[in-house]
Chain length 260, copies 2
DNA sequence: CGAGCAATTGAGTCGCATCAAGCTAGGTGG
DNA sequence: CCACCTAGCTTGATGCGACTCAATTGCTCG
């Protein structure tokens, strides 16, 4: 890899995964890639079950997930929560806040998590100086919205078993690097209560539904580890079509639409 | 209003509403505003219940809604549909497709609708020549995602009556111009079956729930017309907080973050 | 070894889907 | 002018999926 000089190495290990994700969907020059990795970051350790971005409050920084697992949550008066997205290491969980600092849910750590905070001001400056980076960020936000749309369909129109299967499929593809191939075994440090918040189910029903999936030999979720036994049938069970996640195999011209 | 010269007037009446929406959230110069209104448009008349952007297909144009009502839908194998957004006149229903041409649902006309198609190429060129316009478009996409997040919470965590109340509240605010004040009476040319697709309910249950809301004297939905009788209590019923829709009363500097 | 949290299982209840009519209003043709 | 048709609205009866409450088991850790 490039950028071996002192000082660069740290940034490379920090935001390198993020840049890789961007490159799957957008074309960026070496210079642009380095500019992103040179973003100033401020470490923040968050412990499990801690809300580190409260719902409905403005922030002045974006949260990059270096390690751990984060949920974006909305809330209802009676206290129950609805998770609307799961963010894994390499995700910029609230990139959108750089352009509109309010309106999209709070962020909760599901497990001990290392966040790198990046000031909005730095993100904006980057977008101004490198229009292609602004475009890549914009496209990243669109992908997030596409995932959210599937999430809404999932909540509205499927039964408990299908909803859980869909969530597991989505994570398998995303852990697999978003190129269309699932990772068949991965950590998922969520308790069943938290899975319930994501699937709009109670923990009791999550338990029963996971049991069903296990007995069907589709997938085992136990002790924070997901083992997918039959990817094809799991996709069927979740009515999961990875197209919306991986449709970024555009011809190159489409990865850099605005700026030639 | 400006731009009275021949040829300009037509465009003003076409995309003027769209520019107004953008101005509620982003700062644009006169020149930029005119550049947007000068976008080339191609009329397309769509009749009720017609899918005019099929699910999962790439397009090379954006759809501006000049009149009518449009639903963004996702689909499930068994044939049932889930509406994930409603688009009213003045909305650019799939602005995101300019940057990522696939992945977010299909578009269906709920009533006879006049669409203005705008080639992606023109949108991209505009974004390249006027970075502030690209930023405004980006911000518009974020608002769309914020609405979608609330929609997901709505589907996941509320009962039938609350879900319908929330949808009606959202529309009242948006018809009101997005400045925080609801329009208390508006057309809603949807049949109960279509409301069911939006709220993830059967038409039978939509009917019963609307009856409840009517008997509570909160709102009457009949014959394609919505009459809100008690805005405060309707918001309570839907657990609706308009902040996420109208939190664009930023200080001016925040309406034009990237480019001074 | 007990405390505490999560996973698991059972029994009872409720909200919404499903199936099935009947109703209403607008449109059409004889 | 009335018989008929159709789309949408309304209401009732019944069943299922998910929630709720409650108890038990297993696991981890101090």
């Amino acid at each position: 890899m490039q950028c071996k000089q002192i000082g660069g190495l740290k940034h490379l290990s920090d935001l390198g995964l993020f840049v890789q994700r961007l490159l799957a969907r957008s074309r960026l020059t070496e210079e642009e890639q380095h500019a992103i990795m040179a973003l100033p970051t401020y470490e923040m350790e968050v412990r499990a079950r801690q809300d580190f971005v409260p719902l409905g409050e403005e922030t002045d920084y974006c949260c990059y997930i270096a390690s751990g697992l984060v949920a974006r949550v909305g809330q209802v008066k009676n206290g129950s929560r609805q998770t609307t997205a799961l963010h894994i290491p390499g995700d910029m969980a609230d990139l959108h806040s750089a352009v509109r600092p309010i309106g999209i849910g709070g962020l909760t750590a599901l497990t001990d998590t290392l966040i790198l905070r990046i000031p909005h001001a730095a993100v904006r400056t980057l977008g101004r100086d490198f229009p292609a980076i602004a475009e890549a960020f914009w496209r990243d936000c669109i992908l997030d919205a596409a995932i959210l749309m599937q999430w809404a369909v999932n909540l509205g129109r499927k039964d408990a078993r299908s909803r859980l299967a869909h969530i597991l499929c989505e994570l398998a593809i995303r852990y697999g690097g978003g190129r269309g191939y699932p990772l068949l075994e991965f950590d998922l440090p969520m308790v069943q209560e938290q899975l319930g918040d994501a699937a709009a189910l109670t923990s009791v029903h999550v338990n029963r539904s996971l049991k069903t999936l296990r007995q069907e030999r589709l997938v085992t979720v136990r002790g924070g580890i997901v083992q997918i036994h039959d990817w094809q049938r799991l996709m069927q069970a979740g009515e999961f079509d990875p197209t919306y996640l991986v449709a970024d195999t555009f011809p190159d011209r489409q990865k850099r639409l605005v700026f030639q």
